[in-house]
């Protein structure tokens, strides 16, 4: 399956939905910091992989799919759940990359400046996630 990009899809998301994502992201970042401050970096670090935006994204996908189906005169409930499920499969693959990201941060943080450490870790996330996704397409 070919990967495609379409900027016009951004119009489907309302300003309120963008605001909810911003709010969730900000709240999780603050909460992770507060937990680390109170209980130490070992507990705080757990929340760096909290599924912050996933419930909001899945709900939005379901809503958009339902609307698309209903506009075509069908009941879109099943397709909405299926599309959200496909997104969850992708997120599971991204989580494998996230393990790679965390390992690189743990190993390189004491050796490199933060910018290089995070750039390397992000590159590992992108490569691992992309590779596993391609592999799954071929199987």
């Amino acid at each position: 399956m070919k990967v495609k990009g379409d900027i016009s899809d951004l119009k489907k998301t309302t300003p309120a939905e963008y605001a909810i994502r911003f709010l969730f992201g900000g709240l999780v970042a603050v909460t992770a910091g507060l937990i680390a401050h109170r209980y130490g970096p070992q507990v705080g670090g757990l929340f760096l992989a909290f599924p912050a935006i996933f419930p909001a994204s899945a709900t939005l996908i379901d809503k958009h799919e339902r609307k698309k189906e209903e506009d075509g005169g069908c009941d879109g409930a099943g397709n909405g759940a299926r599309a959200a499920g496909a997104d969850a499969v992708g997120a599971a693959i991204g989580s494998i990359g996230l393990v790679g990201f965390a390992i690189v941060v743990m190993i390189t943080a004491n050796r490199f400046p933060i910018l290089e450490c995070l750039s390397l870790a992000f590159a590992v996330w992108a490569v691992v996630s992309g590779f596993v996704w391609c592999l799954r397409q071929k199987l």
């Binding site: 990967v3 990009g5 379409d6 911003f22 709010l23 992201g25 900000g26 999780v28 970042a29 603050v30 992770a32 910091g33 507060l34 130490g40 970096p41 070992q42 507990v43 705080g44 670090g45 757990l46 929340f47 760096l48 992989a49 909290f50 599924p51 912050a52 996933f54 419930p55 899945a58 379901d62 909405g80 759940a81 299926r82 599309a83 499920g85 496909a86 969850a88 499969v89 992708g90 997120a91 599971a92 693959i93 991204g94 989580s95 996230l98 393990v99 965390a102 390992i103 941060v105 190993i107 943080a109 004491n110 933060i114 910018l115 450490c117 995070l118 992000f122 996330w125 996630s129 996704w133």
Partner: protein
């Protein structure tokens, strides 16, 4: 002030990855961005400047547990959504309990084994 900066940067980075997910197709590829290291990228640079790189390394170590829990969480929700067409909000929301259970289960076991 640190927490205001965390809130703004966290919101911006998470939103940017969400926008990436909106733009790309197919859905399974877009889903990769739901598990992007958005919160980590948003907060670790601030953490490094305030508390040092040893603190960042320790957070990275326990983030591995969070990421493993995220993997299981996504597989369970994907299965429920695709097989049973379950309600996405309920499934993904209630699934967070699974994430918490796995995270603290592994963390407690690792702590006992003196890994963390």
């Amino acid at each position: 002030v640190e927490y205001i900066i965390r809130f703004v940067i966290g919101g911006v980075v998470v939103s940017l990855f969400a926008v990436c997910g909106d733009i790309v197709k197919p859905k399974s590829f877009a889903g990769l961005f739901s598990a992007a290291p958005s919160v980590a990228l948003a907060t670790l640079a601030i953490t490094a400047s305030r508390r040092g790189m040893g603190y960042v390394s320790a957070e990275g170590g326990s983030m591995i547990i969070g990421a493993i829990a995220m993997f299981v969480y996504c597989l369970v929700t994907a299965s429920l959504l695709m097989r049973y067409r379950a309600n996405p909000l309920l499934t993904t929301g209630a699934g967070i309990a699974i994430w918490l259970l796995i995270v603290f289960g592994i963390y407690t076991a690792a702590e006992k084994a003196l890994i963390v």
